[in-house]
């Protein structure tokens, strides 16, 4: 038996719709269609009614469009007055509340939409478009502040806890003045960016972690002390039923400031 495709086209021959049933259902279908045709109201085809209905629809669309434009304009003014930058990243609106002293945002708008990137990932094209390059993540990062994000897409109907299969995930950093990212698979047969030794060290780092309580129940966060490398907050924010956005903030800054920064991304 072919282990990969054991059942190809087999069911077609093994399950037989009994002779005669097809014609019976066909007749029932004919009756239903005839019944529906009789019920159909002739006045719906009346020309003046059609025209007036079209006019009402157009008027409604105009009202909605004007409302939308006005709302957009107001939104822009609010952001402009606040003097901050707003980025929308796959359903999660990111608005840094703290003055971005340590964070220098790159040309983020050039980065292709996360979902589209996931669907039609083309490394060379993505690099060209966004001027990114893949960097090897290192656990020995000693820098003032680093933020990374990624999207983890789980198979449907499984929680992250239940899922034990391969996960493809994005990991994105803001380093210096550049955005950098990797697309990494956890499948056994895939090339791993982290060696076994590095993974072990990473696991040890996580052992001194503590949870940060959030009001937002769709987000969890863990604070880890990295010793001389500062502190790290790992956050998982559920953006829709099947996706989790993975944040990571590292920094050699005060623990409270780091937590405050993390909260500013999650709690509005």
């Amino acid at each position: 038996m072919n282990g990969r495709q054991p059942l190809d086209y087999k069911l077609e021959d093994e399950i037989i719709w009994v002779d005669g049933r097809k014609d019976i259902v066909k007749e029932q279908l004919r009756e239903e269609i005839a019944k529906k045709s009789r019920i159909r109201r002739p006045f719906l085809n009346w020309e003046p009614l059609k025209v007036s209905m079209s006019l009402v629809t157009v008027a409604l669309l105009c009202v909605l469009l004007i409302g939308d434009i006005t709302q957009d304009k107001n939104g822009f003014q609010e952001i402009h007055q606040a003097g901050s930058v707003s980025h929308t990243w796959h359903n999660l609106e990111i608005k840094p509340v703290l003055p971005p002293v340590d964070v220098k945002w790159g040309k983020f708008e050039n980065f292709p939409n996360m979902v589209n990137s996931y669907k039609n990932f083309d490394l060379v094209e993505s690099q060209k478009r966004a001027s990114f390059h893949i960097m090897r993540p290192s656990i020995n990062i000693n820098m003032p502040l680093e933020i990374s994000r990624g999207v983890i897409e789980y198979p449907p109907f499984l929680t992250a806890k239940e899922f034990k299969g391969p996960i493809t995930y994005w990991d994105i950093w803001h380093r210096g003045e550049k955005w950098v990212y990797v697309n990494q698979s956890l499948a056994d047969n895939s090339r791993q960016l982290l060696s076994k030794k590095e993974k072990k060290v990473m696991a040890e780092i996580y052992s001194n972690a503590q949870f940060i309580p959030f009001k937002n129940k769709d987000a969890i966060a863990v604070l880890t002390d990295l010793g001389e490398n500062g502190k790290r907050i790992s956050m998982y924010v559920k953006s829709n039923k099947y996706q989790v956005i993975d944040f990571e903030i590292r920094g050699n800054i005060n623990e409270e400031e780091l937590i405050k920064l993390a909260k500013s991304y999650v709690e509005k």
Partner: protein, 179 residues
């Protein structure tokens, strides 16, 4: 006399009803329900006839309509399941599996294996592996991303393989050795 629309529509019925019935049957596993849902699917397609622009994609359109109808059924089913079943028993119109479908031995094994899957896994497996739709077509029918189709199919295939391996083991080894 039949209109061109009706002629075309019933030609589709002739061409695809068998395949659609088997598809829905593998998902819902009840022959009477499968027939009802197939009929409902064709009625929906009849109503949407004017919106079918690409005649070469009718098969995909039909399977997409069948998928939507089946999913709607699952959503409603839990609420009215008991009532409908009770009514069917009372008025005696409930047909047995044998009166609607004949299932050969291999078919039973496949259906048993499919029962182990979640409805969505079952659906993606049937579309891809049994009906032979491509990844792209399956994604269009289910309105999923291709990545999601691949992942779900991978897990479904694994589950089926595990089940079939267990079945094989059960046949190869006497129960005393297994204990």
């Amino acid at each position: 006399m039949e209109s061109i629309k009706d002629q075309q529509f019933f030609q589709w019925y002739e061409d695809f009803s068998g395949s659609l019935f088997k598809y829905i049957y593998t998902i819902v596993q009840e022959p009477q329900t499968a027939e009802d849902l197939m009929q409902e699917t064709f009625l929906k397609v009849y109503e949407k006839y004017d919106s079918i622009h690409d005649i070469h994609k009718v098969k995909n359109f039909l399977f997409r309509a069948a998928h939507n109808t089946t999913m709607d059924f699952f959503r409603k089913e839990s609420k009215i399941k008991k009532l409908v079943k009770a009514l069917k028993k009372e008025n005696g119109c409930h047909l047995s599996t044998e009166q609607i479908v004949e299932i050969k031995e291999d078919g039973r094994m496949i259906l048993n294996a499919l029962k182990r899957l979640k409805p969505t896994q079952r659906e993606v497996f049937v579309l891809r592996k049994i009906k032979g739709f491509s990844i792209k077509e399956t994604a269009e029918i289910l309105d999923w991303t291709e990545a999601k189709v691949k992942t779900t199919l991978h897990r479904a295939t694994k589950a089926i393989e595990n089940f079939l391996l267990l079945e094989d083991e059960a046949i190869e080894w006497p129960s005393t050795v297994r204990l």
